[in-house]
Symmetry: C2
Subunit: 344 residues, 2 copies
């Protein structure tokens, strides 16, 4: 393996000059620059990552902590993050802590403290203040996505208002019996948005003087399967049936649509369904939803991080609210005229 020394020899230059020529930092005559480049190319020289990081203190590496890489929202964000990082010439070190608290703990207290990343993006992770403090002590910038980080920058959507908007959309159509599919408790551990969206739903209901029936916000786990199972239970029950469902994720909404079909309910005539997220699959089902642009949020997070890294402003802009788009398709309509059968 050729080192910078070999390049210097071959180019007839000093190591220092070659380093400057290849990195683009510092003044180098164009003649020297050419020579250095040529020699490096001939030798197939690639600078040692560790040596240069050690000497410069810059890693060109961003750590990303996610609760799962398998679910739609996270992999969407990841796509945005990874594409933007590659373009910027940065590595992306992935810490997927889906295996539970053990991994979460070792990542936060071991892996991430070894100063091998220049910054951290935490996706939908509720970090404690102590955890943030420790991270900030080692890495300049941290940005959170989908959840505020006390003391660090973050980018998020307004889950509360948007959930209220979604609910209001149904209310304005004339619905009064609106159920809500939300996150399960296991999910919640590290993740505040299910709760936030649920509160948005409750507020909209209350503001319109509508009852939030206890049986009508149902934990699912944000997946199609979960939404399907919960909606089956809901729609199959002998109690009065809702005329609309607001699901806190598109996946659960799709599950609800599938369940409704099982019962022969036509969407949107017998049942309106609105989701939340902007899942590509929503198109197939004509799902009305709120598109939160997960992918773009990832890109944005990277840009925030990198600008805070390059500019020595030290800390990154405090908090950015990402504008979500209301997407009205064909899964929501006015409620059925005949107040549907009230069994029993």
């Amino acid at each position: 393996m050729a080192g910078i020394k070999d390049v210097a020899e071959r180019a007839g230059l000093s190591i220092a000059t070659v380093s400057r020529a290849l990195s683009g930092k510092g003044p180098v005559s164009s003649r020297s620059r050419e020579r250095a480049r040529a020699a490096a190319a001939e030798l197939g020289f690639v600078p040692s990552y560790h040596a240069s990081s050690l000497a410069s203190g810059r890693n060109h590496n961003i750590g990303v902590v996610v609760p799962s890489v398998h679910r739609w929202y996270f992999s969407s964000v990841m796509e945005g993050i990874s594409a933007t990082l590659i373009d910027a010439g940065y590595d992306l070190t992935l810490y997927n802590v889906s295996e539970g608290p053990k991994h979460r703990h070792s990542v936060l207290n071991d892996f991430l403290l070894r100063k091998r990343v220049d910054g951290v993006i935490a996706v939908a992770l509720k970090l404690s203040e102590a955890e943030i403090r420790k991270l900030l002590a080692v890495h300049r910038p941290i940005v959170g996505i989908g959840g505020t980080l006390p003391g660090a920058a973050s980018i998020r959507i307004n889950d509360f208002d948007l959930a209220a908007d979604a609910t209001n959309h149904l209310i304005q159509l004339g619905h009064t019996r609106i159920a809500h599919l939300t996150g399960g408790s296991a999910y919640e551990q590290d993740f505040e948005l299910p709760g936030t969206r649920q509160r948005g739903y409750e507020k909209a209901m209350r503001d319109s003087g509508l009852a939030v029936r206890p049986g009508w916000h149902i934990p699912a786990d944000f997946t199609i399967q979960g939404g399907y199972a919960s909606a089956r239970a809901l729609l199959g029950s002998t109690a009065e049936r809702p005329t609309a469902i607001f699901a806190a994720s598109d996946e659960m909404a799709i599950g609800a649509i599938l369940a409704a079909r099982d019962f022969g309910l036509r969407i949107p005539y017998d049942l309106s369904v609105i989701g939340f997220d902007g899942h590509e699959l929503g198109e197939v089902f004509g799902l009305t939803t709120i598109d939160q642009g997960a992918r773009d949020q990832g890109s944005l997070a990277v840009n925030m991080l990198l600008s805070g890294l390059e500019g020595d402003a030290g800390h990154v802009a405090a908090e950015a609210e990402y504008p979500a788009k209301f997407l009205i398709r064909s899964s929501t309509a006015v409620p059925p005229e005949d107040s549907p059968r009230t069994r029993h």
Copy 2:
């Protein structure tokens, strides 16, 4: 930031001893070990990643190259890889090249050559021999998943035989008019398995003397949306309708089921559908499929890589075939008795 020097001073030991004590390599008296540990803990010492990598030549970091992190198969494999790596104390550097050839090229010819990873896992990527040669020159082990890598280790399932099995399952049920949903051409660029599965399908058909009608293997793009669109086109056409569909992915199979429902076809009475992969969602649809244990393949790849790294065997075991499981659920049955209407 405390360095090893500070720890040594505090513990009243030499730097060398502290290093050995903390890393566990080399002989250290238990008394020294205790002292070193205590001092390190008190100072909150975390060894510098780059310095130790530079000195030791070991990175404790694996590079993973994937064509996408957003689709089911890849994110499943990633889950397995990431969990196993964290347990082993390794970092995972993710190179997601879904953005196309530009990223693919810079990752393979730039990012990965800077010796910052100890090994590479390439998922479903068709690497050229030249690319593999360059990688092997820098990193000892490389293992591929879901695609053979000439000259490197790989772990894969037997796509050809399994696709034939799936097709034969339908044939044995009595089906003769069997359509196949396969990958699209854009997808194919870097990925050999759609073609392989298609050839398995064709072989099984030929072996049973059945016609492979040109209009009946249809490109989709491995997604639910793609499968849905293709199946709609297929089932809605005026031509003779197949009684069974073999989809090269579960997602496409699910799309086909949704499309069939649109046409009022009952699964499996009017139409049998078999998938391929082991997608969790298959359960909801009662999808008969071949579970290829994507997640476990990821774990296995890591173990192969790490054992080739720790043992200085140099190269990793050549090629492992992962056993897939045939999962018969309720989406396949004997074909309808009345040879269904042949329109036109």
